[in-house]
Symmetry: C2
Subunit: 275 residues, 2 copies
């Protein structure tokens, strides 16, 4: 599918799902006029007492979308010889637990260095689809899942990041993380449905979405529909997030330690949650 076909297809599907968005279920949907609208730094009422690491360790064989090695380490100085250690690393920006900046899927969107720091600290809403993902590796976060979350937890907090917990982090060091099907190429892992992304885009304050898999779009996506809708809107995404199962569905605060690479389309990030 060519780029323009992809965009048209995505737009059509967005419009067709407008009726799914009820308007009242996302805090600030009516009030917030732009992404830059200030939101409280912390959603929780009590001072956080614990930091949880949502970051996978980065190693050279970290699984990748394209199934080619994307991280390379080289020792420059070693203690035995030089009395100090220094390494050089080479990496594709989209490796490990990492951020997708708007520039990743747009001609002139914000680079990772241009995302305001206030947008890297936000309340975290976790949508648990582990049960359906266990039954179906191609499961997606749908508008119904978002509605189920707000039914159980109240409005999405202003300026939130909405994360998918599919349980896929447990498969990181096995073939099931990429989960290539019988055709030898199509991957099968969970992601966001374009209609869920569109629903969240109608809540202007939502800053980011996060997944514990290799892509915001689910494995068999033919068109990166979520990438092409979400990122050019000025929002960010997080992929290969770890350890979401250690957190409550609502109430944690996310800090995205994204690298401040000039012109970067994203990058390996230290992602920490406070609870």
């Amino acid at each position: 599918m060519c780029h323009h076909c992809v965009i048209d297809s995505v737009k059509d599907r967005m419009l067709s799902r407008r009726d799914f968005f009820k308007g009242g279920a996302v805090a600030g949907a009516a009030a917030a006029a732009s992404l830059a609208a200030p939101a409280p730094l912390f959603a929780q009422k009590a001072m956080p007492t614990k930091a949880e690491d949502l970051t996978h360790e980065l190693f050279e064989a970290f699984p990748t979308f394209f199934n080619e090695q994307q991280l390379f380490k080289k020792a420059l100085f070693n203690y035995a010889e030089h009395k100090f250690n220094i390494n050089e690393w080479r990496f594709n920006e989209h490796t490990g637990t990492h951020l997708d900046a708007p520039l990743h899927f747009s001609a002139d969107g914000k680079s990772v260095a241009e995302i305001p720091v206030a947008d890297l600290v936000c309340p975290l809403a976790i949508i648990d689809i582990r049960q359906k993902a266990a039954d179906n590796a191609d499961a997606q976060v749908t508008p119904d899942d978002i509605t189920a979350w707000t039914d159980a937890n109240g409005d999405l907090p202003e300026g939130a990041c909405v994360a998918m917990l599919s349980g896929w982090g447990a498969h990181l060091e096995t073939g099931k993380f990429r989960n290539v099907g019988e055709d030898g190429k199509t991957m099968h892992f969970p992601g966001f449905h374009i209609e869920a992304a569109q629903m969240l885009m109608e809540a202007p304050s939502v800053k980011g979405i996060a997944v514990d898999t290799l892509s915001l779009d689910h494995g068999p996506s033919p068109d990166f529909a979520v990438h092409y809708a979400w990122l050019p809107s000025g929002r960010w995404g997080l992929e290969c997030v770890a350890n979401l199962e250690s957190l409550p569905a609502s109430g944690a605060t996310l800090v995205v330690g994204a690298p401040k690479l000039r012109g970067g389309t994203g990058g390996p990030s230290r992602v920490i949650a406070m609870v």
Copy 2:
């Protein structure tokens, strides 16, 4: 100076300055038995309302200790041709606003990936030596500066990072950041005095030190005395920290978004303070 001479010299100076440490001025000095002792996540009493970015943007010409380029960017995919953008970066771990892990100056200290996440979130104490640094580029944070801080602000908070604010961040894109002297090689910028580092090491809960210059040791240091004392003790350092002047001397909470590189001796970090 050979490695063993350096270590012996550092040890001698540590012992000679023990009388500078009064014991009572650092919270938890007596009680905390190890670096792993739990400390409150936030020092401030009120919920933080603002995030300050303490990270310089990373660009290929970012000044370096060795005065050789340490960061390289290469486009792998571009929007015009591929409908998405991805870059590859190559970097020396000790580039930009970055963390020094214990492994940087020890044979077998903790790598950057092995630092517990709880040690990357801590109260921030800022020692302002801008006035003396303006008069003397070789100025150092001394035990007297630490005592002046505790006299003004009370005990150092449990588990703190102690940061030097020398004002050097303003020189980042000028020759004054490295500030090479008339001999054509010796650099002149502020850093920690070994006796201040030793004083802080006697407060077992202090997790890190930070500087707004290229090195924990001041420019003319012949022996990396602070590096060789501080890092092998299991603590971390931050170099080239930005924007400390925007923060209060006491009361901010630091989040160090260090890259979780397996076997890494440190790395470019997203450093964010909450106030």
